[in-house]
């Protein structure tokens, strides 16, 4: 017992140190981007020689950047709706299965491990085969596919905390299954669903591989626009846009954490 007690602080000190190293490793690139965004220079230079918010106003006033932002937001919103419905439905359905639950769960999570390039190519060919032309609609569906497993995982985790006897009780009290779903089960996981939707939006908003492959020429989502801009001009505009996206991501993550917190 006393040995354990002495060992504990050392373990947690190591854990904290490791955590700091990992966090630095993940965040250092951002720490370079943030100051550059406030640079007054015309080229990407670190550290900036002069400070100014001029690249933010340049980006927000440039129709090309604004269109890209708008398009990203619209497609991400559509994909979020699709993914939230599909992922939530899947979480409810898989919970009811007696057998084959593990196998189907693996299938559900497949989009997380399949290379996005393969998914993009597959979608392109599938749409082509069906006689259509891959475009923004295809991109929306593709992003929804990517986000569905995230929603599924979050809602399934929320559902795990819901006693299965509640649904049976509601049935025995005279309610049909749609009524049980609407009045009992969905309200109990509403926070998980909302948190999952926020995460899904964040994921779709700056998704780049599918966007690069599937958006038609001239219609650029934000990541594609960043990519093109970086390869052409390398101005601090990219840093300013990135800072905006990071800001959005922080807000979304915060929101999702807030929503995911259990009511007591």
């Amino acid at each position: 017992m006393s040995d354990l007690r002495r060992a504990a602080p050392r373990t947690s000190a190591i854990a904290v140190a490791l955590g700091v190293v990992v966090a630095l490793f993940l965040l250092l690139p951002l720490l370079v981007i943030l100051p550059v965004a406030f640079s007054a220079d015309s080229f990407l230079v670190f550290p900036p020689q002069e400070w100014s918010p001029r690249w933010f106003s340049a980006v927000l006033n440039d129709p090309a950047w604004r269109d890209a932002l708008g398009l990203s937001a619209r497609i991400a919103a559509g994909a979020t709706v699709l993914a939230t419905v599909a992922g939530t439905a899947a979480a409810f359905a898989l919970r009811r299965l007696r057998r084959g639950q593990r196998a189907l769960r693996t299938v559900m999570l497949a989009p997380l491990v399949v290379p996005q390039l393969v998914l993009a190519l597959g979608l392109y060919l599938a749409v082509d085969d069906l006689g259509g032309r891959a475009g923004l609609g295809t991109l929306l569906v593709g992003q929804a596919v990517l986000a569905t497993p995230i929603v599924y995982l979050a809602v399934a985790a929320g559902l795990a905390g819901v006693d299965p006897a509640l649904a049976r009780a509601a049935r025995s009290l005279g309610h049909t299954w749609p009524s049980v779903l609407l009045r009992i089960e969905l309200p109990l996981v509403a926070r998980s669903v909302a948190g999952a939707a926020v995460l899904a939006f964040g994921l779709c908003f700056d998704e780049s591989v599918l966007a690069y492959y599937l958006s038609p020429p001239g219609r650029e989502t934000l990541p594609t626009r960043i990519w093109l801009d970086a390869s052409q001009s390398a101005s601090p505009a990219i840093a300013a846009v990135s800072t905006l996206v990071i800001g959005l991501a922080v807000v979304l993550l915060g929101l999702s954490l807030l929503l995911g917190r259990r009511r007591r």
Binding site: A165, R168, S172, G174, S179, R183, I184
Partner: protein, 336 residues
């Protein structure tokens, strides 16, 4: 409403869980399925509620077939072991929930919720969160919710298992009172024999997917049909029947084989008291209102439950003592 269960059989995943269960519960009575875990009692309840499908057999409520009716149209109130109250709804909304499905107008809903809460003696908690209630209160709310729509049948799944001992005894009386007041035919499931004996009009003892004996609490306790029932309902001294009489004591027994003497049917007397069997005390356990004394008579171990105040001397291990039977009709076990 009377309930007739006829040759109910349930197979789940290749295992036979219920094996031809038949039971008639008269209208307005309180029946308990009593048995150890795995005996099939909960499965029987789940078939009645519609949560488990029967493989074969039939159930009729007031003569109407039940098994083809989906759970939400059975009009059966179920109180779950952990109560299954909806945590996101207030007490009032919980109790109101079955009335919403039945499209009861809101004024009448309020009145019925109030009278259901009155029935379970918790009239002032309508707006409380169910999480703020104690276990005993949650139990009452679950009962109010299961009764507010005046169900044909009330099912109780281990209704008292989650309560501590004192509350459990109070709730036994409460359950019985509410059941009598509403006159709702009730089927309860429990593994606790004291609970079953004190609440029920009819006790059905289940073992390995079958009902082994049905009767009034007194019948099943006093005259168990099988060795299993005898042992499950309390301590039992099993004695062979010799020439129509119980060994050692010589009481007449109907039937042959083995008969049961309950520990409280035996009485301790001074040694060599006329008409008693000489025995040696092997163990004495003080249990408050009772003294559990184990004795050996002619190489047969007997358990005697004595009332401490009735004994002249408190027996100690090694004492020689007399044992006699208080009398009464005995019946032999069917399976021994």
């Amino acid at each position: 409403m009377s309930v007739e269960i006829d040759e109910l059989t349930v197979h789940l995943g290749g295992t036979r869980i219920l094996d031809g269960v038949s039971l008639t519960v008269p209208a307005g009575s309180f029946a308990t399925l009593l048995g150890p875990s795995g005996s099939g009692k909960t499965t029987t309840l789940n078939v009645l509620a519609g949560f488990v499908a029967a493989t074969s057999g039939d159930v009729r409520v007031d003569g109407e077939p039940l098994l083809d009716v989906p759970p939400h149209r059975r009009d059966i109130g179920v109180v779950f072991q952990n109560y299954a109250l909806f945590p996101h709804l207030s007490v009032g909304r919980n109790v109101e929930f079955p009335l919403l499905a039945r499209k009861v107008p809101s004024a009448s809903r309020r009145a019925r919720v109030a009278s259901a809460l009155e029935l379970v003696q918790l009239p002032d908690v309508t707006d409380r969160s169910v999480r703020s209630l104690s276990g005993g209160q949650q139990q009452r709310i679950a009962l109010a919710r299961a009764l507010v729509f005046e169900p044909k049948l009330l099912l109780l799944d281990e209704p008292l298992a989650a309560l501590d001992k004192q509350l459990r005894e109070a709730m036994q009386l409460e359950l019985k009172r509410i059941q009598r007041e509403t006159g709702t035919t009730t089927v309860a499931v429990t593994h606790d024999q004291v609970e079953a004996l004190s609440m029920s009009d009819v006790v059905a003892i289940m073992h390995e997917g079958r009902i082994v004996q049905v009767g009034s609490p007194e019948e099943v306790y006093r005259r168990p049909a099988t060795r299993f029932v005898a042992g499950f309902l309390g301590e039992a001294n099993l004695l062979p029947v010799v020439d129509g009489r119980a060994a050692l004591f010589g009481n007449p027994v109907s039937g042959s084989g083995i008969t049961v003497l309950r520990p409280e049917d035996l009485e301790l007397t001074a040694a060599d008291h006329p008409g008693t069997v000489a025995a040696t005390v092997t163990d004495v356990v003080y249990q408050g209102s009772r003294l559990r004394v184990t004795v050996t008579a002619e190489e047969t171990a007997l358990v005697v439950s004595a009332i401490p105040g009735e004994l002249a001397v408190r027996p100690e291990a090694g004492d020689t003592i007399g044992v006699r039977h208080r009398g009464g009709a005995l019946r032999a076990l069917a399976d021994a």
